[in-house]
């Protein structure tokens, strides 16, 4: 069979062209424009300014570096907050539970909804005076737990992590469940005969056998965390003050103010961070493929 004829190379053309022109080239162009003073008023008159934008981003007078730090912290914490409970839930839901399919359907439901809707709904739930959360706490006589969920500097991040977990745990759990179902039951039976306890089984059977699912969840979770925008933009719009600004919300703000050069500079930093993370992940994945 003639491979050249059966599998023509032009089949690659359409997706590759769209990907390169409309996805990759904006990213690379962004690196170039981040070195210019491009803004809403510079009609075609764009000047090269070197690293000036980056100096402004990292200067101590500005808050942008805090935004970069917030993005990284969100990526780490939001993943821990979702992955650990989701794993325990998946183990719990996996077998011997009546109505588990019903629970799975319910718990997965939030992750199919638009962030916009979740954001608006939780804006009302977290309202200090009338919101569902505070009125429920009052009803349960737990008034001391009442908080200004979205305006108090000390709790606003907890609210964001909470809403994010409300949406994301079901998704992470579903992937873990698929991984758990692929572990042969005989492994656990053998461990039971040897008298292993729950933690030992978790450590020596479940976790190693789940490495594929953990990997997928980490990849999705990390890339999602680095690119987070919707939920923060809608819940707090970066406030109170600049407390919850992340890279993408700053970039949108700068874009809306017509400071395109600065906006692309921030995007470029994000691009470089994700590229570094992405290259590591793809390397690990391609290594796994060779081993298989």
């Amino acid at each position: 069979m003639n491979k050249l004829k059966t599998y023509p190379q032009w089949f690659l053309f359409l997706p590759l062209a769209i990907y390169v022109v409309f996805f990759l080239s904006p990213g690379l162009l962004g690196v170039f424009y981040s070195l210019t003073d491009w803004n809403a008023r510079s009609m075609g008159d764009i000047n090269f300014v070197g690293l000036k934008n980056f100096r402004e981003i990292f200067s101590a007078d500005e808050n942008y570096s805090q935004g970069i730090f917030n993005t990284l912290r969100f990526t780490v914490i939001s993943n821990i907050v979702k992955l650990v409970p989701a794993l325990l839930l998946a183990i719990m839901l996996q077998k011997g539970l009546r109505g588990r399919n019903f629970y799975r359907t319910i718990l997965y439901l939030p992750s199919i909804l638009p962030f916009l809707i979740i954001g608006l709904t939780f804006k009302s739930i977290l309202n200090f005076n009338t919101g569902l959360l505070n009125t429920t706490l009052e009803f349960l006589q737990l008034d001391f737990l009442k908080q200004k969920w979205l305006t108090d500097l000390d709790v606003v991040w907890f609210s964001i992590y909470g809403v994010d977990a409300w949406r994301g745990i079901g998704y992470v759990m579903t992937i873990f469940l698929a991984g758990l179902n692929a572990i042969p039951n005989s492994y656990y039976e053998a461990a039971d005969i040897d008298g292993a306890n729950f933690l030992q089984k978790l450590r020596y059977i479940t976790l190693p056998m789940l490495s594929g699912s953990i990997m997928i969840n980490l990849v999705f979770g990390i890339t999602y965390g680095l690119k987070v925008f919707d939920i923060i933009y809608i819940l707090t719009n970066g406030g109170p003050g600049h407390a919850t600004q992340v890279v993408t919300t700053y970039a949108y703000q700068l874009y809306a103010n017509g400071r395109y050069g600065m906006s692309t500079a921030l995007n470029t930093i994000l691009f470089l961070i994700t590229m570094a993370v992405g290259i590591i992940i793809v390397k690990v994945m391609s290594k796994q493929e060779v081993q298989q």
């Binding site: 069979m1 059966t6 599998y7 089949f11 690659l12 359409l14 997706p15 590759l16 769209i18 990907y19 409309f22 996805f23 990759l24 904006p26 990213g27 162009l29 962004g30 424009y33 719990m92 011997g96 539970l97 009546r98 588990r100 629970y103 319910i106 199919i112 909804l113 638009p114 916009l116 809707i117 608006l120 709904t121 009302s124 739930i125 309202n127 009338t130 919101g131 579903t174 992937i175 698929a178 991984g179 594929g212 699912s213 890339t223 690119k227 919707d230 993408t248 395109y260 906006s263 692309t264 470029t268 994000l270 691009f271 994700t274 590229m275 992405g278 290259i279 992940i281 793809v282 298989q292």
Partner: protein, 273 residues
């Protein structure tokens, strides 16, 4: 091996509590969408004293929901179809002819799974092609951002389609186009359905892309229509909630119908075989 009953009871209680935490916000939104302005502002969980069905007709009229709905549908169907068909053809060649170049191309596109889209320069590129601020531009943007994922899952699935089929078809005199469309594509149906649903919902839920790329309200998908409606009507929670119900209804219906495909698609590739 059956678990002792206290353990089962605790599990049930945990699951019921968690399900309630998920359902409560939905219940609150639905119930308050039927109340008057004053009553809904209190956001109580009680039934409305008077059912205000007119909230919905007001929202549909003022929230530009019909237009938003048709825009969302157009964007989601077209961009997903283009990306899926193109990626299926590409994945076919990339999977069957693993030359060094093709393997490189695969990982090259795969990197796109991680990159953020640079919308500011994307606007510039779209201007070059004279499609900035048009529906076509938005569809291209959606398509381009889903290519890495589609290529990834379809190529993974392609390995399970036996090569012998290709050989048989070629011996019978089929050309590449015939081979692909009448033999390979029908066999890809499971993964195509899954990827279609996932990406369809991805476009439906996307907020950032239209926020950057559509300035005229005629182009707004449902999401953006709701957001602007909220901006205008922030104190009319009854309308906002009615708007929310109408927006999530199609998504929930698609989810309940396509549930098994969604879960199947999530887990393809997550499990080592």
């Amino acid at each position: 091996m059956k678990q002792p009953w206290p353990q089962r009871l605790i599990k049930q209680i945990v699951c019921i509590v968690l399900s309630l935490i998920v359902i409560m916000p939905f219940y609150m939104v639905v119930i308050n969408s039927f109340k008057t302005k004053g009553e809904s502002a209190r956001m109580a969980l009680t039934l409305p004293s008077e059912w205000q069905f007119s909230n919905y007709s007001i929202v549909i009229e003022q929230g530009k929901l019909v237009q938003g709905f048709s825009n969302s549908l157009l964007y989601a169907v077209l961009s997903t179809s283009i990306a899926l068909l193109g990626c299926a053809m590409a994945a076919f060649v990339l999977s069957r002819k693993r030359t060094k170049f093709n393997v490189f191309i695969y990982y090259f596109v795969l990197c796109g799974l991680f990159f953020p889209v640079n919308y500011v320069t994307l606007v510039k590129v779209l201007q070059t092609f004279k499609v900035a601020n048009t529906r076509a531009g938005l569809i291209i943007a959606f398509t381009s951002s889903m290519i890495p994922f589609c290529l990834f899952v379809i190529r993974n699935f392609m390995s399970s389609v036996p090569v012998e089929l290709d050989e048989a078809a070629v011996i019978d005199g089929a050309g590449p186009i015939r081979l692909f469309f009448s033999i390979i594509l029908p066999l890809l149906k499971p993964i195509m359905v899954t990827a279609f649903i996932l990406q369809f919902m991805g476009v439906w839920n996307d907020f950032m892309t239209p926020l950057y790329l559509s300035s005229s309200s005629k182009m707004w998908p449902m999401n953006l229509a709701v957001y602007n409606f909220f901006g205008k009507m922030a104190s009319y929670w009854n309308y906002v909630f009615a708007d929310i119900v109408l927006t999530i209804l199609p998504v929930i219906i698609v989810y309940l119908i396509g549930q098994k495909y969604i879960v199947g698609g999530l887990t393809s590739g997550a499990v080592k075989e």
